[in-house]
């Protein structure tokens, strides 16, 4: 065994550790992502207040993406080789309703988001004004 080989073995071991950490991170991220599809992501734990129990309901959207690549080339003197990877994601959640359970009965109270309604109204108004503007320009011609 020459002096160069232990260094190469060390590099290979380091590379192996790095690869296993990357795979573990990827696996745990994917597990968290898939867990978003469970009921527990949408319904909260029940909150007791006296003899009334409240459970909040939310809508959850999760988007995730990964990519890996490698390449090589070059001439006979220099064999270039490289690899890389990346990923990104986002989770959106908003409250939808609250389930109120008491000995007298169960009711579902909707939760409204006035900001989203205002945004929808403004977007629709903007679309309508833009359309009116285009149509009035068409008439002038």
């Amino acid at each position: 065994m020459t002096e160069e080989q232990p260094e190469e073995v060390k590099k290979a071991e380091d590379k192996g550790e790095f690869a296993s950490v990357s795979v573990d991170t990827l696996q745990s991220t994917m597990e968290s992502f898939i867990a978003t599809a469970n009921t527990s992501a949408v319904f909260s734990k029940p909150v007791q207040h006296g003899d009334t129990t409240i459970i909040t309901c939310s809508e959850v959207v999760a988007v995730l993406g990964f990519g890996v690549g490698e390449g090589g080339g070059g001439d006979k003197e220099s064999n270039g080789h490289g690899s890389g990877g990346g990923g990104g994601g986002r989770t959106f959640a908003r409250p939808v309703a609250a389930i109120v359970a008491s000995p007298s009965g169960v009711s579902i109270q909707p939760i409204m988001d006035p900001a989203k309604l205002a945004l929808a109204a403004l977007t629709t108004l903007g679309f309508m004004f833009a359309m009116m503007g285009r149509m009035s320009r068409g008439r002038i011609r």
Partner: protein, 94 residues
């Protein structure tokens, strides 16, 4: 025709006892992972609540998303107004 039913997962939570009633929550998730584990989309929302009384009668209460319903109403109203305006502003022949 492609089968889209496999994209949707309907799940029930753990039954919860409140008084003499048992409540079970139901959610439905759209899970789309086209790239063999290299990403995807999960859209999960509450659907209904199943209530079972002590006498064994079970009924289901739907969870209505009021915000989404009103957003759809606003957009539908806007589109209807846009169609009416286009009819009103239609260029007329001299």
């Amino acid at each position: 025709m492609p089968d889209f039913s496999s994209l949707f997962i309907t799940q029930e939570g753990e039954p919860l006892k409140v008084g003499d009633q048992t409540i079970t929550v139901v959610s439905r998730a759209l899970r789309w992972m086209p790239m063999l584990g290299f990403g995807g989309v999960v859209w999960n929302r509450p659907v209904a609540v199943k209530i079972r009384t002590a006498s064994g009668v079970e009924h289901v209460l739907p969870v209505v998303d009021e915000t989404r319903r009103r957003q759809a109403m606003i957009v539908a109203l806007g589109l209807a107004c846009a169609v009416l305006l286009s009819l009103f502003f239609r260029p007329r022949r001299a």
